[in-house]
């Protein structure tokens, strides 16, 4: 019987709900032997009144020890155990469920030293929020038993340029045994982050994966209004029209006002009472990409201005000029200006008036 497992939520007048479906949380998952286990991830990012709520679920297999590093857009005010059904309920709302096969896994219910700014324990998870650069956070992770894959230095730097905040999560196998947790059980974690600049880390999902490896994740956003995102997701019809071997990247599966029944169900979960009971927009994005192509994050503008920041998506702001003036246009304008200048000089030399 297939089990739906909850992953993690993330929050932002953007209620961003990211539900990473079955299993592991976003973030690089690193086993002691350096192997990375890629599974489908579900995350909720909700944004409301300047607060991003990021919810994801960490699920670990068996007796091995695992760790995960999640980049955050700001300093969290708290990291708490997530609700028991938020992620599953979002999946139920947006994805067809084969009758009789749905089973909630509610069981699962710079080179200075990095600075530890928050530590907590959630079930069998040890959670540490760090502030530091790519080098210092990498050093901290290594010194605390995380085995970083070869792409970790570049990926950590990619994130550290935008935010020096990272969350390291480590699974304590002994504590899990004491608590009676079994392989496959997941623990949802809810991170509350005040920020004016919500984004959802996606590139980290490909950490340690070969370039051709598939990366799949479900991302739910709950916002006060319809958000604009960057990169712009393609529609499901467009995605299905692609050749089978082509992965679409980011697919917008649902974009609609959240139903009052969904909101009521979510609000009744632990830690979710902040969610408004009405006028919330639900966005469901499906990540389906080659690891080598997943070089971006998801920037969100829930203000209604429709201008998600390229930098928040980890994109080159010049290459994605928000006003639509791409580099080619700027080059063309520069050439026109140069021609005008040269033309003017030539006319002066020949004694003719310059225009």
């Amino acid at each position: 019987m297939r089990r739906l497992r909850l992953l993690v939520p993330i929050t932002g007048a953007l209620l961003v709900l990211l539900v990473a479906s079955p299993v592991f949380a976003c973030g690089g998952l690193i086993a002691p032997n350096g192997a990375v286990q890629l599974v489908r991830t579900t995350t909720l990012a909700a944004y409301h009144e300047g607060i991003e709520h990021y919810v994801t679920s960490f699920e670990f297999a068996g007796d091995g020890e695992f760790g995960s590093i999640v980049p955050l857009p700001g300093v969290p005010t708290k990291v708490i155990r997530g609700g028991d059904w938020t992620l599953q309920r979002l999946a139920l709302e947006t994805q067809p469920q084969p009758e009789g096969e749905l089973l909630f896994a509610v069981d699962a219910a710079g080179a200075a030293e990095a600075r530890v700014i928050l530590e907590t324990k959630i079930d069998a998870l040890d959670v540490v929020v760090l502030e530091g650069g790519a080098i210092s956070v990498g050093n901290w992770a290594r010194e605390h038993g995380f085995l970083l894959p070869p792409d970790a230095p570049e990926v950590l730097e990619f994130y550290a340029k935008r935010s020096p905040i990272f969350m390291a999560v480590r699974y304590d196998g002994a504590r899990a045994a004491d608590q009676g947790l079994a392989a496959g059980d997941g623990t949802p974690v809810h991170v509350v982050i005040p920020t004016t600049n919500p984004w959802v880390p996606l590139r980290i999902l490909a950490l340690g994966a070969p370039a051709e490896a598939p990366v799949e994740a479900d991302v739910y956003l709950l916002t006060d209004g319809e958000p604009a995102t960057l990169p712009v997701a393609i529609g499901p019809d467009e995605a299905s029209a692609l050749a089978q071997e082509i992965r679409p990247g980011l697919v917008l599966e649902r974009s609609e006002p959240a139903s009052t029944t969904l909101l009521a169900d979510l609000r009744s979960d632990k830690g979710m009472s902040w969610l408004p009971g009405e006028e919330v927009w639900l966005t469901y994005l499906r990540v389906d990409a080659r690891a080598g192509d997943l070089t971006y994050d998801l920037a969100i503008d829930a203000s209604g201005a429709g201008q998600p920041a390229p930098i928040a998506a980890g994109l080159d702001p010049i290459a994605t000029d928000a006003n639509g003036l791409g580099p080619a246009l700027w080059v063309a304008l520069a050439l026109i200006a140069a021609f005008v200048l040269v033309g003017g000089l030539e006319r002066r030399r020949s004694g003719r008036p310059a225009f």
Partner: protein
């Protein structure tokens, strides 16, 4: 006039040194600095003269450990399949811990050789380079 003669002599000496075949230098081997950054060798191509001894200064700017192993395909294969977590320093084979700088020397023969890192996953990630001899 005297100054011109001195300058000419210096230029002649410099030109002679540049064209001279590689040989043991009383001042020591030529130094080549290689930076390990984002799990890449920078530079990834090095030139050496036949029978030249190079002193490699390996600077690891990454927060993860790396290796620097010089050798032909068979040497690289051996290390790729090997199980040594740490290499005691041997000529052309060193472990470079995160943030550290180490030095190793290697005397080349007549053939081109490779250098690579065989921490699990690193060679496949592209952490390799070549020494072109000639």
């Amino acid at each position: 006039m005297h100054t011109h003669r001195v300058v000419a002599a210096v230029l002649l000496l410099a030109a002679g040194a540049a064209c001279a075949p590689a040989r043991a230098d009383p001042a020591g081997p030529r130094t080549v600095e290689i930076v390990l950054h984002h799990s890449r060798f920078e530079p990834s191509t090095v030139q050496a003269n036949p029978d030249e001894t190079l002193e490699f200064v390996i600077v690891n700017t990454d927060p993860i450990d790396h290796e620097f192993i010089v050798g032909d395909d068979s040497v690289q294969d051996l290390h790729e399949r090997g199980t040594e977590a740490h290499h005691d320093p041997r000529p052309g084979e060193v472990t470079v811990l995160a943030g550290e700088t180490v030095t190793t020397t290697f005397t080349f023969g007549e053939q081109d050789l490779l250098f690579g890192c065989h921490v699990p996953g690193h060679y496949a990630y592209g952490m390799r380079g070549v020494v072109l001899v000639g």
